[in-house]
Symmetry: C2
Subunit: 299 residues, 2 copies
């Protein structure tokens, strides 16, 4: 074969373009607290929806719909559903964490510019379930990919998105007249924001911590040891000196993300150097210069 047939494709992403894609991922936040009253232009929202619409879908099914909710009275009703669900969920949380749970702000339904409910039509490919006969949930997963595209595009547009999952699905379906064969996947609060927090809120408030990625990597089988070189490469990205020791079985291998007993930390003041990056990364940035890849990696 000529070289042109076997050489990797020249794909049009230079270093800056790659960095932009990673930056959207590393600085995306689940926004609850920082929505502004500013409206969101239809031109911007159209781009976000087009991004969602270009998600992968099983059998090219494109099972999604987008319900845009602007009406204040309806949003108050959705918020009531959230408040009721939160009261139901609270007793299920470990007792010593319930006070912290109560303090967390977990939605921005009424103060965001608008809400969007992204749904999955389970019947859209009836008769030709390519890729779904063994795994019928694949259409739900396709719709989640659309949510993530929407979220990342929003980050690149400076638009905040928060996913409200503390809500009773059947009550939401009634409120939005969603028929039986359609599943609501994500209820999103969407709008302009005053800031994107440097870390996830739940990390800032001590609810959880970022797990060490090398411990989440396995070789060949679940809990399979190996991939030392890959884990070292990951550790270098994380600016961690050594790969942390791992041990199977799985429940010993990965410390649970929760519970964390540490007291809530103070949120760091917003500054140019901390915006979008945590302290370690900001420090790395000043060492390495901004814009180079490892400099933008969150710890």
């Amino acid at each position: 074969m000529p070289d042109a047939m076997t050489a990797p494709v020249s794909d049009g992403f230079d270093q800056m373009a790659r960095d932009a894609v990673y930056r959207a991922m590393f600085t995306r936040r689940d926004v609850r607290s920082h929505f502004l009253p500013a409206p969101l232009d239809d031109e911007v929202l159209a781009r976000l929806l087009l991004a969602a619409h270009h998600a992968p879908s099983v059998g090219f099914m494109q099972p999604w719909n987008f319900i845009v909710i602007r009406d204040a009275a309806r949003r108050e009703k959705v918020r009531d559903l959230f408040l009721a669900a939160r009261e139901q969920e609270l007793p299920e949380i470990e007792e010593e964490r319930q006070a912290l749970y109560r303090k967390l702000k977990l939605e921005g339904i009424c103060e965001s510019a608008l809400n969007i409910c992204i749904t999955c039509d389970r019947q859209r490919s009836k008769g030709s379930p390519l890729g779904r006969w063994h795994n019928p949930e694949m259409d739900l997963y396709s719709t989640v990919c659309a949510v993530q595209n929407f979220w990342l595009a929003a980050r690149a547009e400076g638009v905040g998105v928060g996913w409200v999952s503390i809500i009773e699905a059947q009550a939401l379906k009634s409120l939005l007249s969603i028929p039986d064969h359609v599943t609501p996947i994500a209820y999103l609060c969407v709008g302009r924001v005053s800031e994107f927090a440097p870390k996830p809120d739940l990390e800032t408030h001590g609810w959880g911590r970022r797990l060490p990625l090398p411990e989440l990597i396995m070789s060949e089988t679940f809990c399979g040891q190996g991939e030392a070189s890959l884990k070292s490469a990951v550790a270098r990205l994380n600016a961690v000196d050594t790969v942390q020791a791992t041990a199977c079985p799985a429940d010993q291998r990965v410390a649970p993300a929760v519970p964390q007993r540490e007291p809530p930390k103070e949120e760091s003041a917003l500054s140019l150097s901390s915006l979008n990056f945590d302290d370690a990364s900001a420090s790395l940035m000043s060492q390495a210069g901004s814009g180079t890849w490892p400099a933008m990696v969150l710890k």
Copy 2:
């Protein structure tokens, strides 16, 4: 409040950075046919995994693990599972589409550089199900967000990814020693590619077509009429002159993605102008100049 408190945040994404994020989404493909035998550097794979690890997760649960599968014999066994599952799925496909189904290449398990199985540990936040008491499937959805981050980062790195969903999950769990409390979410073929096809394979081969996005947008409730301005903005992005008429109920509103009775089209030859863009977009590009936003929108 001072203006600085209410003005939208300056978020560090200029036009080129935003374009890069959209380009990753619009040119991402579910790759089956174009894998090269070239290995994938651990440094690149580490970045893709870090991108996945920065997906949103319910209650900051980070329920994912990444099983890296390189062994040729194991991959052949996975491919056998795919072949068996395809034979089981075939009779479920409408009879007049079965010949086309047989012709479609639906996996690149053995010819890609490596495979990755991304799993969801359902027990990782046991005791503190923040955001999951009403919707326990949220951890599965979080893991799908990790898959989509991985996929988009791969596109920006020039790495192809294909998601194999035609496989019996329990058989895959046995083969990879995945315990009961862990759910395999995505089995991915990953590697360098000779090209990213200008359109999804299933569109090229006439299995389905891209649905008109304006018809997927609803106002306030499911099937709610409205959002004319937003739909017009979407239609302009799509270079469609008029918003297509819509009619409820839902099964009349959106033509099913399948079946399509059109004969398979010939795949267009790879050229600089068609790479990553369909013909309409390539034409738009030459009119509008490359790099401006609407020029890169796929129809």
